[in-house]
């Protein structure tokens, strides 16, 4: 099957590029650890029971998935400038493969960083529920795929770095603030709680806390999948379309 074959070929290339960039690897590892080291202690006073990491670490995992998705378009801008995207588009390779291969490579890296974060967190008292984390990984993958595809499509449409950065950063901030990544939205006023329900990241963050605690039955979990699965499919379809036509 050409989709699988092309995806594998292109994802391998993206992965090699990532590994050739040690600075990037360092940042990837250190950012979540910094959150744990410098932010988690501040939360201690707000959480009545249990380990602070049980509350906080799942949110950081969601944040990483979101951030790694939104950053994907920067690479696209560079490859667009260098003519690499056209070089791929002029071959019969599957358009979907050209789109998702770099996302899958980044996702693999993300899961490695996630595992590292969980290991460090466990050492400081984070309670690990294996099955819950596994299901969470699927959810994080969906979130990252969705937001990365959106980011790439925006990169293709804006075509230059400053316009792209403005759009993606302008969107990131409200999405992050309205998701309860750092502090739970439930402590906020009514209008915030209502608004949050239009934010896909909010569902992931809520579900991530339930899954990390091992409570699969929670409404948060099925709601998150019910929102993320169709949304991811929709964004992928749109981004593939953009790939086919809007690249000028």
């Amino acid at each position: 099957m050409t989709l699988a074959r092309d995806t594998l070929l292109l994802a391998r290339r993206s992965l090699i590029h990532a590994l050739r960039n040690p600075v990037w690897l360092f940042v990837g590892v250190s950012t979540p650890l910094l959150y744990l080291a410098l932010f988690a202690p501040l939360l201690k006073h707000y959480i009545a029971h249990g380990n602070v990491l049980d509350e906080f670490l799942p949110g950081i995992l969601s944040l990483m998935a979101f951030a790694s998705g939104s950053g994907q378009g920067f690479g696209t801008i560079f490859e667009l400038r260098a003519g690499v995207i056209e070089r791929f588009r002029v071959t019969p390779a599957s358009r979907l493969a050209i789109l998702v291969a770099p996302i899958l490579a980044s996702m693999l890296m993300m899961f490695v960083f996630d595992a590292l974060l969980v290991a460090v967190g466990a050492a400081f008292g984070f309670g690990v529920h294996w099955l819950g984390l596994l299901v969470l990984a699927v959810l994080l993958g969906l979130l990252m795929m969705m937001w990365a595809a959106f980011s790439i499509a925006m990169a293709l449409l804006t075509k230059e770095i400053s316009a792209f950065a403005a759009v993606i950063n302008g969107l990131n901030l409200p999405v992050l603030l309205l998701a309860g990544v750092l502090l739970q939205i439930s402590v906020g006023p009514e209008w915030m709680r209502v608004l949050a329900h239009f934010n896909p990241l909010y569902y992931v963050v809520e579900a991530s806390r339930s899954l990390a605690a091992g409570s699969f039955g929670s409404d948060h979990v099925w709601q998150a999948f019910a929102v993320l699965v169709p949304l991811c499919a929709l964004v992928l379809a749109w981004a593939t379309r953009v790939f086919r036509t809007a690249v000028a």
Partner: protein, 338 residues
């Protein structure tokens, strides 16, 4: 409508091709305005035109990279709009900016590109080595592309377009950035490809390149083809020889000289070109003394005088009213910008 079957040797058939871009503030740029092209199998067809003429836009439509605005394009027997995947499998494309990846080595780029065209690992590896030899990439094929010189990178770009031995090859300004020796080498490679039956469609703003390489040339300006034919046919249309007079005393002298020379029967055409006068005469040897005598009698001083056989630039001037050189394009690689 066009029937492709009537011309089995016709590899590219383009009719009434148009494309406009909507720019900022609602201004539209009509990049391509009604282009017709017929390219036959085994031909080297050249697109000659100044910056912004619509060369790249046309090529990107023919190579499925840009949706066609309106009109039809049939490439390698397939309709570009309806069967893009089939077209892609049969064509190669080297874009103006290239497409090699800084983080890869040249060899890695070639291997990946070959696989994306569907080749199996063994045959792609063999083809890669062949191309490394053919385009003389051996010295740097295992280095990261980021370290390449402009010319080395350009040769890799060309190799990337050839990995799958396409039937039709599109080259967008292939020799930009190459030194004279590598340019000559590339021309030879292009001739070899033609000899092997490949059809080649290239763009250039080097007159000598179009002249030396192309079987037929279309001159494109402002999105329209203004002249079409073999280089020698085109040059023959510009009769006689061209005389370039560079006058000493500016605008007044130009007006005076124009009034003086235009009525002469030996002068076929005359045009003023910022500070210079260009005229076409039947026979330079006969005309020059007469021209000089006349100017001298009226005390019109000369900086320089130049008599030449017509070039494609003269053809360009004749059809567009501008010199190709004035538009920023040059005669050779020295004038090149990338």
């Amino acid at each position: 409508m066009i029937k492709v079957d009537e011309h089995p040797d016709q590899v590219i058939t383009v009719r009434a091709l148009r494309k406009s871009f909507s720019g900022r503030r609602g201004k539209t740029v009509e990049a391509v305005r009604g282009v017709d092209i017929d390219v036959l199998r085994g031909e080297i067809f050249g697109f000659l035109g100044p910056n912004g003429a619509g060369k790249t836009t046309t090529l990107r439509m023919l190579t499925t990279l840009l949706p066609i605005g309106s009109g039809t394009a049939i490439v390698a027997g397939q309709d570009v709009a309806r069967e893009p995947a089939r077209v892609r499998a049969r064509i190669g494309y080297v874009s103006q900016i290239g497409g090699a990846d800084d983080l890869d080595t040249g060899r890695e780029s070639l291997l990946l590109q070959g696989r994306l065209y569907g080749g199996d690992a063994a045959s792609v590896a063999a083809r890669t080595e062949e191309l490394i030899g053919l385009l003389d990439l051996g010295d740097f094929a295992n280095r990261r592309v980021a370290t390449y010189s402009g010319g080395q990178r350009r040769r890799l770009d060309v190799a990337l377009g050839l990995v799958h031995s396409p039937h039709v090859l599109f080259l967008d300004e292939p020799s930009t950035g190459l030194d004279p020796q590598n340019r000559a080498n590339l021309w030879e490679r292009i001739e070899d490809l033609r000899a092997a039956g490949t059809t080649i469609f290239l763009t250039t703003h080097y007159l000598d390149e179009a002249d030396a390489l192309c079987d037929r040339v279309a001159i494109i300006d402002h999105g329209r083809i203004v002249a079409l034919g073999s280089p020698s046919e085109l040059k023959r249309e510009v009769a006689g020889q061209s005389v370039m007079l560079s006058l000493r005393d500016g605008a007044d002298a130009i007006t005076q000289a124009t009034a003086l020379l235009e009525p002469l029967p030996i002068v076929r055409e005359l045009s003023a070109l910022d500070g210079d006068l260009r005229l076409y005469v039947e026979d330079g040897g006969e005309a020059l003394p007469a021209l000089l005598r006349l100017l001298d009698e009226h005390h019109i001083g000369l900086h320089s005088i130049n008599l030449a056989e017509p070039t494609l630039d003269d053809v360009f001037l004749r059809y567009t009213g501008r010199s190709l050189r004035d538009t920023g394009a040059g005669e050779g690689p020295e004038g090149a910008e990338r």
